[in-house]
Symmetry: C2
Subunit: 270 residues, 2 copies
DNA sequence: CGGCGGATTGAGCGGCTTCAAAAAGCGTGG
DNA sequence: CCACGCTTTTTGAAGCCGCTCAATCCGCCG
C-alpha cells in the first residue's frame, strides 16, 4: 500500500490529472546527499518525491546531524512554502532521487482548481507528525536494538503495508551511516546492531534491498505497532478534516443562527 | 510574548468574543498527572489549555514513557478530533490544570462562524511540529547537559519571549522526573545535570519557578537558537497559509482560466 | 589496477543507568 | 503547631551500553 496510491485515491480523476501533470512538469534530479533545501532559506517550492527517498534533517553548529524523517515516492515533504518565513530544517536526497518542485504560483493554481487537495495536504502533514512522534519514542526510550528494529519495521510496512502479502523484501536506500543519523546512534554501533538482528531473525540488509524473513520476530523485538501510521484511515481522515475547510460565506454576526446550527449551544452567543 | 496573545492577535474582535466564550463554557479541571486523553481512544473534543501546563506523551508496553510536547495556556493541544480515528498519544495535566474541551458540534459552529480560525489552527499545529523536530535533535544528538539546558531555554523563551525584558524568572511546573521523561534521561541523572547547571550559570529550579540569571550562558551551553519557535511570524504565517483555505467556487474544468491565473503555466492544462 | 565509499572488527573508555537509601519539601489532619 | 505520609530531591557506588578512535576489509567503478 504505497503512499502514492493513498494520496491518489483521495483525488477525483480530474484532480489526479492536474496533479500528475504538475508533478511531471516540475521534476528535478538530485544526486546522493545533495541538498534540496538548506535550513534558514526562504521556501520557494513545494517538494513531492517522485522516485528515490528524501531525508529531512537538522544539524547543530558543530556538525552533529539528526535525520528527522524519510519521505518516499508520492509523499509531500513539507508545507513550509505556505507557512514559515524561513525553513527550520534541511532537505536532501538519500540516494539519487527525483523530486517535483512545485512553484508557489503553480501550487496556488492547483489549490484553486482542486478543492480536495488542501485537505490531502493537511492529512499528509498530520500523519507525518505522527511518525515523528514515534521516532521521538525511539530516540528517547528505546535501546539500540529496538531502535534499528523499529526503523526497519516502519520502512518495511510503509512500503508493503500490513498485513504483508508476501516474500519479505522491500527497497532500502539508507546506508548504515544514515541509519545512525536517524536513530541517534554511532555508525559503528549500528553495524553491530544490524549484525545482531541478522543473527536473531535473519534480517538481510543489502545495498538497495531489505529482506525480513520473519517480520513478526522483528516486530516483537521493536514492540512495533503500526497504528501510528494511520494506514487505511486516509479516506475517513480526509472527510474528518473537512470542517476545517468548509467555506464560510456567512459574515459574522450577520443574523440568527442557520437551521443546521440549532443543535449547538453556541447559538446562544450570536 | 505568551502564546495566548499571539493566538488572539490573529483573530478579529468578533472571533475573539466567540472563541473566549467557547473556551469559558467548556472548562474542565484536572489534577496533577490526570489523563485527559488516553492512547487509542476515539477523539471527542478539542483541547485548549486555559491554565497550567499539559503534556502529550506516549508509552511503551513495558511502561517506559516519553513526553512528546508541553502545552502552555492558550495553546491548542492537537487536531485529532478532525483527523484520526484513534489518538496515537495520550494527554495529561503536568500539574493541576484547567483545560477547555470543545465538543465536535461546538467546534464546527465555531469554524463556520470564524473564517480565520482554521488558519490559526493550522499555523498552531505547524509550529508545534517544528518544536517537536527540535526535541528530536535533543534526544538524538545532545548530551544530558545540553538537553536539559535546551529545555529550560525553550520553556523560558516561550513564556518571556526574546529579547528578554528582564528579571530572569518564569513559571516552571515540571518535576525533575518529568524533565527526565521529556529528555529521555534518568531522573537521577537529571538531578545531577541540574546541579551542574546551577554551578555553571546560577540556574535556580524551584518548585514552581525557574530563575535564569544569565540567559546567554545557558543558551551557549545548549547552543539554543529560538528560530524554530517562529516567534513574531504568526501574522505573516497565517497569511501564508491562506491559499490553502481559499474558497474554490470554480468547478473543475468549468471554462477558461480566470484572469488571475494568467501568470501560471498551469493554465495550459485546462 | 588504484581509489573510494561503505561495512566490519577490536580495544578501551566514559556518560548515563541502575539500585538503594537518605534527606528535604509539602500538604493534610489531628 | 506539630506529626504524619507523601512526593520530590539528593547522594553514593557499581556496572553496562554505546561511544571513540583506529585499522582492515569489501565491493564497485573508472
Amino acid at each position: 500500500m504505497p503512499f502514492r496510491e493513498i494520496l491518489n485515491r483521495l483525488m477525483t480523476p480530474g484532480e489526479r490529472v492536474l496533479w500528475e501533470a504538475c508533478l511531471a512538469r516540475s521534476a528535478c534530479e538530485y544526486r546522493k546527499g545533495e541538498d534540496m533545501v538548506r535550513e534558514g532559506e526562504h521556501p520557494r517550492v513545494l517538494h513531492v518525491v517522485l522516485s528515490g527517498w528524501v531525508q529531512k534533517y537538522k544539524q547543530l553548529p558543530d556538525g552533529r546531524r539528526q535525520i528527522l524523517a524519510i519521505y518516499m515516492p508520492g509523499q509531500l515533504c513539507d508545507l513550509d512554502l505556505f507557512t514559515v518565513e524561513r525553513s527550520d530544517h534541511s532537505l536532501a536526497a538519500v540516494r539519487a532521487a527525483s523530486v517535483a518542485e512545485i512553484s508557489r504560483s503553480d501550487a496556488c493554481s492547483l489549490l484553486r482548481r482542486c478543492p480536495n487537495i488542501p485537505q490531502i495536504f493537511c492529512w499528509s502533514e498530520l500523519v507525518a507528525a505522527a511518525v515523528q512522534r514515534e521516532w521521538m519514542i525511539s530516540l528517547g526510550q528505546r535501546n539500540a536494538l529496538e531502535r534499528v528494529a523499529h526503523l526497519l519495521c516502519e520502512i518495511y510496512v510503509r512500503q508493503r503495508g500490513v498485513p504483508d502479502p508476501g516474500d519479505g523484501e522491500c527497497d532500502f536506500f539508507l546506508t548504515q551511516w544514515q541509519i545512525a543519523e536517524a536513530t541517534g546512534l554511532t555508525q559503528v554501533h549500528v553495524n553491530r546492531t544490524v549484525q545482531e538482528l541478522r543473527r536473531r531473525c535473519g534480517v538481510e540488509l543489502g545495498q538497495l534491498r531489505l529482506r525480513v524473513p520473519h517480520f513478526a520476530e522483528l516486530a516483537a523485538i521493536a514492540a512495533f505497532s503500526p497504528n501510528y501510521l494511520h494506514f487505511g484511515e486516509a479516506g475517513a481522515g480526509v472527510d474528518r478534516v473537512a470542517p476545517l475547510f468548509e467555506t464560510s460565506d456567512m459574515p459574522m454576526f450577520a443574523g440568527l443562527p442557520s437551521e443546521r446550527d440549532r443543535a449547538s449551544p453556541l447559538q446562544l452567543l450570536s
